[in-house]
Amino acid sequence: MEAISIEGTPKTPTIKFDPSSGVLELKGRSIPENSIEFYKPLIDLLDKYAANPKPITNVNIQLEYFNTSSSKCILDLFKKLESIKNNGSAVTINWHYEEDDEDMLEAGEDYQAIINVPFKMIQIEE
């Protein structure tokens, strides 16, 4: 399985996922008009990874902004992580938010309420 590494742009986040280490990183802004198209390569790779995941899967989400179109794709991503967890990998989602960014913390809590994967809420000091 090839690792995925996509550089961030003003509208799309940096994405890094290496199936050989089980570390996934999503960082920056996610406000594309067409988010399904953007997230497809990552979702497809996670689908393959889910068949034979590493014992530990670590997910770092550090988003500055995301639009509602991305929010559905992020939920899809988390649902994949749920099935990876069900296939025997210890998955943790580290949800980073900036100090004072209550909206981003709340967005993380919304996902936490829907997804059956352990979340860690991590505040970034400014």
Partner: protein
């Protein structure tokens, strides 16, 4: 002759920071967002306010973008019907985002119904509604899915102020004002 001073005066009195009328493209949205971000930086706006305005702005502009995208390529449809207006102003520490676009008259009731549901909800109810639509709602091909208006109401913390004006036998003009206070 077009009285440009009249436009200027109206924009000045409403403290309009940026306005646009025309076809909404992806590149245009990128530019508007960049301009507003640097304007707010220059004004040394609080990060918290900046984030809220930026978030709401993204949703309002992308609503316009997706709406335009849904209009079929039909020569019967005029350029005017594909055009939208957007403005943002700041008065007394309160930002207001104004958007306006044509909408088929047959779709007015449906949109009005959705806006009224959002406006009838408390902060907590909006949070639950958002999660329900996020988890169960059907996603359109481009990724929209009815979350935009709920998110705008949640982030702005205010009711969505809207209006529909009949334009001709087929169309209404839909206007939306969103206030974001500090």
């Amino acid at each position: 002759m077009l009285d440009i001073y009249d436009f200027y005066d109206k924009m000045e009195r409403n403290n309009i920071m940026l306005s646009f009328k025309g076809n909404i493209t992806s590149d245009l949205l990128t530019s508007i967002l960049q301009i507003m971000e640097s304007k707010m930086d220059n004004m040394q706006e609080e990060p918290k306010v900046k984030k809220k305005v930026y978030n709401v702005l993204v949703e309002c502009l992308q609503n316009l973008y997706h709406h335009m995208d849904e209009i079929p390529a039909d020569p019967e449809i005029s350029e005017q019907e594909r055009s939208a207006i957007f403005m943002i102003g700041k008065q007394n520490n309160e930002y207001t985002i104004y958007t306006g676009n044509y909408i088929l008259s047959q779709n007015v009731e449906k949109l009005k119904g959705r806006l009224d549901i959002v406006n009838s909800m408390s902060k907590e109810e909006l949070k639950e509604y958002y999660k329900t639509i996020l988890n169960n709602g059907e996603m359109s091909e481009k990724g929209g899915g009815g979350l935009g208006m709920i998110d705008i109401a949640r982030k702005s913390g205010q009711k969505l102020n809207y209006n529909f004006v009949p334009v001709d036998d087929k169309n209404h003009f839909f206007s939306l004002n969103v206030k974001i206070s500090q």
